[in-house]
């Protein structure tokens, strides 16, 4: 029997990570690829799984047919997982939001809770059941070590699951098929576990076994008949009612979908339309291209980063340039634009001046030796960390090196000719500040889309209406909207005066790779659409700086010491230490995930690896700590050392991550970092329990475990929500880690204080 449980535990570990990552990716697509939502999803998974472990874990004790009950939960997990994948794509309709509508913060939290609910609860219950089973059947082994083995086996399963999912399953199969495969695997394990159930005397065994077999056959039939493909297509098609979905594919960067309607192709990146053919937004493409191109006396070599196909290249070609280099952040978009071509894109791709580079846009710019007259950034705003890679000071410096002396960097941001709200002022101002850090000269052309031209040469930006008109006539441009009259309208000083007055109210921050202030302002802008009531929170937090946090922490620590003085026990601050370590654990996860995205832009691909490494590390840490407990006596000292180590790691981690040579594609560095941060966090929990109980035997195990568990969970959950949305975007990676360090140090000080008092 025991040999049968071993694979069951490993499969459970693997299934857990596959479900978690697959659903996270599906939700991420629904949440428009906004990585900041990862914290929300992980936090919700954490808390739901805990609920499952806690509430259902106790039920199995009361059951006689433990294996059968385990199998039932296993079946529930499989069915819920497959259903969750299907429904995750239609979650908007389920929570009463139109498919065409974007989701706000609260809808995101609700949607992720709803999708993860049954899956993570069932998985939480499974782990507990596994331990019970292992315990029941493995009488020869001692209870604790049996749990230890389950832990290690599950961790191994998690690692294998994470790697298999990332490198084997996702590249080959759609999510529904993967869910069905996991279902099949789990059912086989169940059947093995039940043994020859048809010979069993127990009716329940027979029923459960038959159900497994039946479901296995059903899953097999679905896959073999290709019905999973139909399910997949149906769940995808529901996302674009009234459109014909031609293509739906996940790349390493995210999801790309192509829809058709009335002869128009629309290319969506994570649900957001980015290219429309054959008729683009004429107003945008003509203004975005011709105003900068006319500002340059002789534009010859052009670089377009993103959004080039479907209009922009056509407009650039009207200026008889020598060469256009074109890259996308996600090369899959390019391939699909080519595949679903129209006369417009055919002409663009056939033009001899165009050279397409199937590479990550930022990587290309960092490594090319070419020099350009104009570099166009085609995104509409730094809506997430991936896109923000093109709006930071670091990237602007790289661009500056790729520009000729008279070269221009061109980008656009949302604006308004009628009224500039605070969010728009801040977002625009943040990018203006950043441009001005690198380029001595910037020109702003306000509109409903604001244009920014940045250069090292002042003369290039002094071109007035008459110069532009002269060039317009000389180049014999055949434009629909952008005529000399329109140029005059766009460059009228009244727009600029009003715009300058409005953005003067904006922020002083600049946008950096590891301090993505623009992402914070984009978030505030996006939030204003959905929950205007939260605007003041964003405004308030924006005013918070590290000194204030330090003051607050110092105050809190002093308060704690004052309170602590009354208790003469070393144990008082321990739950607090556990809570802050829980916080640290989740924040380390997010720091690693965000840093990966900032550096390489394909965390969508690697998130499974990072998370499974962290989880395996945590399990390993826990195991090491349990072994250590038996061997050493001075547990408190070890505990304090670990506390110190966590505090130190909060500073070491960002230092390692911000090493410039990491920017060269070196994702493997993230593996040991993830593993180590997991171990560090994992070490603390068993120690904390032990110390607390040793010093306070009266509190009882049940109370202690509940206390620490709650503390750890609250810490982790808070970090997931607050860390992802406020801490990291606002303070940056280093700043967030410094806040974390302060937090850890304040609990450490409290611990030392309590220790001194108790002596």
């Amino acid at each position: 029997m025991k040999e049968r449980i071993t694979p069951a535990v490993m499969v459970m570990g693997a299934s857990g990570i596959v479900a978690q990552i697959l659903l996270l990716r599906e939700l991420l697509i629904v949440f428009q690829g906004n990585e900041l939502s990862i914290g929300v999803i992980l936090a919700n998974w954490l808390i739901l799984e805990a609920c499952g472990a806690f509430f259902f874990g106790r039920i199995i004790d009361r059951r006689k047919s433990k294996v059968e009950f385990f199998v039932i939960v296993q079946i529930a997990f499989c069915v819920c997982f497959t259903a969750a994948v299907y429904f995750s794509r239609n979650i908007k309709a389920i929570i009463g939001i139109a498919q065409a509508e974007a989701l706000g913060l609260f809808s995101m939290i609700a949607a992720s809770l709803l999708i993860l609910f049954s899956v993570s609860i069932a998985h939480g219950a499974l782990f507990t059941f596994c331990c019970k089973l292992y315990d029941t059947v493995g009488k020869e082994s001692r209870h604790a070590s049996s749990i230890g083995r389950v832990y290690i086996l599950e961790a191994i399963g998690t690692l294998i699951g994470g790697v298999l999912l990332t490198y084997v399953l996702i590249p080959r199969f759609n999510s529904i098929k993967i869910a069905l495969a996991i279902t099949g695997l789990n059912l086989i394990v169940c059947i093995l576990l039940l043994g020859r159930f048809w010979l069993s005397r127990q009716r329940s065994t027979k029923i459960v076994g038959s159900a497994c077999l039946l479901l296995l056959l059903l899953a097999g039939a679905i896959v073999l008949t290709g019905f999973d493909q139909n399910l997949n297509e149906a769940s995808v098609a529901n996302q674009w009612p009234g459109q014909h979905v031609l293509h739906y594919e996940n790349s390493i960067h995210g999801n790309v979908a192509v829809t058709a309607r009335e002869g128009q192709y629309t290319f969506f990146s994570d649900g957001v339309p980015i290219i429309t053919t054959p008729t683009p937004n004429t107003e945008f493409v003509e203004e975005f291209i011709h105003l900068p191109m006319l500002s340059h006396p002789e534009p010859m070599e052009i670089l377009i980063i993103s959004g080039g196909a479907g209009g922009i290249i056509t407009e650039v070609l009207r200026h008889s340039v020598k060469k256009i280099d074109y890259v996308e952040l996600d090369p899959l978009i390019l391939k699909l634009v080519k595949r679903y071509s129209t006369a417009l894109t055919d002409n663009e791709f056939r033009s001899p001046e165009l050279q397409i580079h199937y590479q990550d846009g930022r990587y290309f710019v960092a490594h090319t030796d070419n020099k350009y007259d104009l570099i166009f950034i085609g995104f509409s705003y730094p809506r997430d960390l991936q896109v923000n890679r093109l709006y930071t000071k670091e990237f602007f410096i790289i661009c500056s090196d790729r520009l000729k002396t008279e070269g221009l960097l061109v980008l656009n941001l949302p604006g308004s000719l009628t009224y500039l709200s605070r969010e728009l002022s801040d977002l625009n101002r943040c990018i203006i500040n950043t441009l001005q850090e690198v380029y001595p000269y910037t020109r702003k052309i306000p509109g409903d889309v604001n244009l920014y031209l940045a250069s090292r040469s002042g003369s290039i930006l002094s071109a007035g209406h008459s110069d532009l008109t002269e060039r317009y006539n000389k180049r014999k441009l055949d434009t629909r909207l952008l005529t000399p009259d329109h140029i005059m309208y766009k460059l009228h000083p009244r727009w600029l005066e009003r715009f300058i007055r409005s953005v003067e109210r904006g922020t002083d921050r600049i946008n950096r790779d590891f301090q993505p202030a623009a992402v914070y302002y984009s978030l505030a802008y996006w939030n204003a659409l959905f929950a205007p009531g939260l605007r003041r929170i964003f405004t308030f937090l924006e005013g918070v700086n590290l000194w204030m946090v330090l003051m607050v922490f110092t105050g809190l620590t002093l308060l704690l010491l004052g309170v602590g003085a009354k208790f003469k026990s070393v144990t008082t601050p321990i739950p607090l230490c556990v809570a802050t370590t829980g916080f640290a654990g989740m924040l380390f996860d997010l720091v690693l995930i965000f840093a990966f995205q900032i550096l390489y832009g394909y965390v969508f691909h690697w998130i499974g690896i990072i998370i499974s490494a962290i989880m395996a590390g945590t399990a390993l840490g826990g195991h090491i700590a349990t072994i250590t407990l038996k061997r050493t006596r001075n547990h408190l000292r070890i505990f304090m050392n670990i506390e110190l180590a966590v505090a130190a790691f909060t500073i070491i981690l960002p230092i390692i991550l911000t090493q410039t040579n990491l920017a060269e594609n070196r994702p493997l560095v993230f593996l040991p970092l993830a593993l180590f941060s997991g171990i560090l966090v994992g070490l603390e929990f068993p120690l904390a329990n032990h110390i607390y109980l040793s010093n306070k035997p009266s509190s009882g195990l049940s109370h202690t475990a509940g206390l620490f568990y709650g503390a750890d969970l609250i810490g982790g959950w808070l970090a997931g929500i607050a860390g992802g949305i406020f801490l990291l975007p606002l303070f940056g990676l280093l700043g967030a880690c410094i806040v974390l360090c302060m937090l850890k140090l304040s609990t450490l000080v409290a611990l030392v204080w309590a220790l001194l008092r108790s002596r």
Partner: protein, 401 residues
Amino acid sequence: MTKLENHHECIYPRGTPISKNLFKNGISRRDFLKRGGLFLTGIGLGLFNLSNLPDKDDPQELNKDSLREAMFYRQLDRGAVQCDVCFRQCRLGKGQRSFCRNKMNIGGRLYNLVHSRPAAVQIDPIEKEPAYHMYPGTEILCFGTAGCNFRCKFCHNWHLSQRSIEEMEYTYDLPPAEAVAIAERKSIPTISFTYNEPTSFYEYVYDIARIAKKKGLNVLFHSNGAMNPEPLEELLKFTDAVTIDLKGFTRQFYENVASAELDPVLRTLKTIKKENRWLEIVNLVIPGLNDDPDHIEAMCLWIKDNLGEDVPLHFSRFFPNYRLTNIASTPVKKLEKAHQIARNSGLKYVTIGNVPGHKHNSTFCPNCDKRIIHRTHFRVVENKVTNGKCAFCGYPIAGIW
């Protein structure tokens, strides 16, 4: 101690897996629920409430004397009032705010909080309105401020319309007479109320319109058309032309996408026609939401039967905006089909907007089919309407010329 040894061995660390360590002996359910549940509920409720609160607790220093009392409202029992300006007819107890966010019951009287406080004052081409059959190529002085009685998910001016006046970062202090003086000083022939819904700042519109007409200026407003007939008729006395957004032609669309109603809009259209003011209609075509050809045809026939064939109808191309961002923009072919349907229905002046350079961005003579007003986007390239007639065939072209 032995007992303790056993205990600690049961407890394992966190991470995702930790959660699973509560199996043996378990924590007390009460502890868990108390700590976790209360904490989460607290945070959840707190955040939820915050999201529903206005940006500030109270309107800025409310001084009744400086506020303009609302028109068209009635006093009910116990100090309550009912606003009668739009179809919603908000009933407000003391201190309550209207749906459009702009009116407040202060001491049993209804006041307009945004009077003389525009947030956008701007000069635009009249084509931007769009008002294509009214002094083509001239400028208009536009006014807009906070508030709206609709909740369109695709609102282009949500920064203004979906906010209260207290939430605005800046507004101008501009009494009606001064507003009119700006137009006179800059020699702008027409004043327009646009950007957000004029119904929501009715009293300001009314006061400016009255003065403007006295000074010989033209008055135009762009509305969602959900004003009640009585205030509408009163305002039309001082109005030359109206552009109405007919956002769709099904009650369901109005309800789902704009949280509003279709019938009041149709009533408004008829009233404007009855009062003999110049009327143009805009229909923003949103793919999958209001672009059913049958509905478009029904709309066109209704316009022809109830308003006449001379009413210009503009089909506008939709681009993702505000909350409606996970959706494609309108295919141009769709707009062309809509144009065809409208022409076949007998409407004489049908154009396509938001597609610069499109042939039907221009106006054609219904008689000789020649292009009489050549436009690209909002700019008039050539105007072949002379004395209200087609310069080619002499056919009278409806409008204000």
